[in-house]
Chain length 238, copies 2
DNA sequence: GCCTCACATTGATCGAGATCAAGGAAGGGC
DNA sequence: GCCCTTCCTTGATCTCGATCAATGTGAGGC
């Protein structure tokens, strides 16, 4: 996809409709384009925080600890905005799950533009707080759930984020059907588990009739209620 | 401490020096006061996100999962601003570690005031991104570190946040000395460990000569370099 | 269509940390 | 100052998920 078209996608998603041409141009000047094949890290921050817009495809934000250990900190899909921190106690890199195209900006200048010139303060704050909320939920999973609960809550969350197919209800309800863009390894690195454990838990949930799988990536969540109960969530009426 | 004095503390910490009296008054009208003894949850959000300012003491943000499991999502100290989400898949409550005083606001109205009237958009965004960065570091700890690394990185972080005593260097270097305001249980609930494991790891780090403890809360970090090496951080030159 | 290789599944064993179970300090109340 | 409760420490055992090992499978290349 040409850069102009990608930038247009960013603009319609993020810039307010009444933004001035001059401001829009400043964003365009600041923007850098990157494309990546599955597994690639399409850009380096060179010591500065970056903001990336996922124009197509999907990505993971990976944190590297000593000993080659990796923790997937978040997944992102089309239309998401990701804050990629510069290296601190751990190094972070944004990595493509499938072929994807990104627009990225130096964070500091991006925020200055967004807040001071484009009136996007609320939008930016809202996004940051949503990311924080997701990260907190992840912390609960990582700290206090067993393997089965981790996978169940992961799948419920993915259904919400990916599942174009809405729940229909009724006898021939197909449930939530979607393709997981990430490998078992990515899921494991996200949940703090090994691929073997992830695989075993998929099998177990399948045997319990809560979901079906087809191929490496197709998932059908049959029993959302059951999955939620296995997810360690608080009961709704508690 | 009287409310006016507490609010004053909030104002000098957060409101821009040139803020109008009218705007300042709007913040004051929105503010609610709460005090709490150790272990209390001083307020309920009643279905709305809240923003709390820690005017004195220290707090933990606790997430509740099914089966009575608790995950401490973050600790906060004097001057911190905490976003306390309304109940979702898990319920959150802000809880006092020691006697403390808070000012809290309904989040939505607080942000509207802060952004539109007080020009605090940058400050708010900055805080949210810092909280996100901390939460991501916690996710790495929870997902990919062993018990010893978890405790070592926790202590290093606490030294940064609490340690009034700066590193002196030289032969009679006292190291970082501070009081941990939280119990072993809180540390365990934060690191995804049991109190027994936390205690054993304290003993082990003590035996290795990396730290000393006195009473329940006093800690002296003797060898910061060694602790960092045990924390699973990436080597600085990697 | 078939080959190939990376990815996924399944099984067997091991180990870090949880759990169960006793003591031992510490600090607040009187 | 002493008591008593709560918190912390240490030890013994168990368990879940990691690790090691082998087999199965599906998507892309030709």
């Amino acid at each position: 996809m040409p850069f102009s078209k990608l930038f247009e996608r960013f603009a319609t998603n993020f810039l307010p409709p009444d933004v001035s041409d001059a401001t829009r141009q400043k964003f365009e000047n600041l923007a850098r384009y990157a494309s990546a094949r599955a597994g690639d890290a399409p850009f380096r921050g060179n010591g500065h925080d970056q903001i990336a817009f996922v124009a197509s495809g999907s990505t993971k934000l990976v944190a590297h600890a000593s000993g080659g250990r990796e923790q997937v900190v978040a997944f992102h899909f089309v239309g998401d905005l990701v804050s990629v921190p510069a290296r601190a106690a751990h190094a972070y890199s944004l990595c493509a799950l499938e072929e994807c195209e990104l627009i990225y900006f130096p964070a500091e200048q991006f925020f200055r533009l967004a807040i001071d010139e484009a009136g996007m303060a609320n939008e930016m704050l809202d996004r940051a707080l949503k990311a924080l909320a997701r990260c907190r939920e992840k912390a609960i999973s990582l700290g206090r759930k067993n393997a089965q609960e981790k996978l169940a809550s992961f799948l419920v969350t993915m259904a919400e984020r990916l599942g174009g197919a809405e729940r229909l209800g009724g006898a021939d309800d197909p449930g939530h059907v979607f393709d997981l863009p990430m490998s078992r390894r990515d899921i494991g690195d996200s949940l703090g588990l090994t691929i073997e454990t992830v695989s075993r838990q998929f099998s177990e949930l399948r045997e319990r009739g809560l979901l079906e799988t087809a191929g490496r990536s197709k998932v059908r969540l049959i029993d959302m209620k059951g999955l939620n109960e296995h997810a360690g969530h608080l009961p709704v009426a508690a």
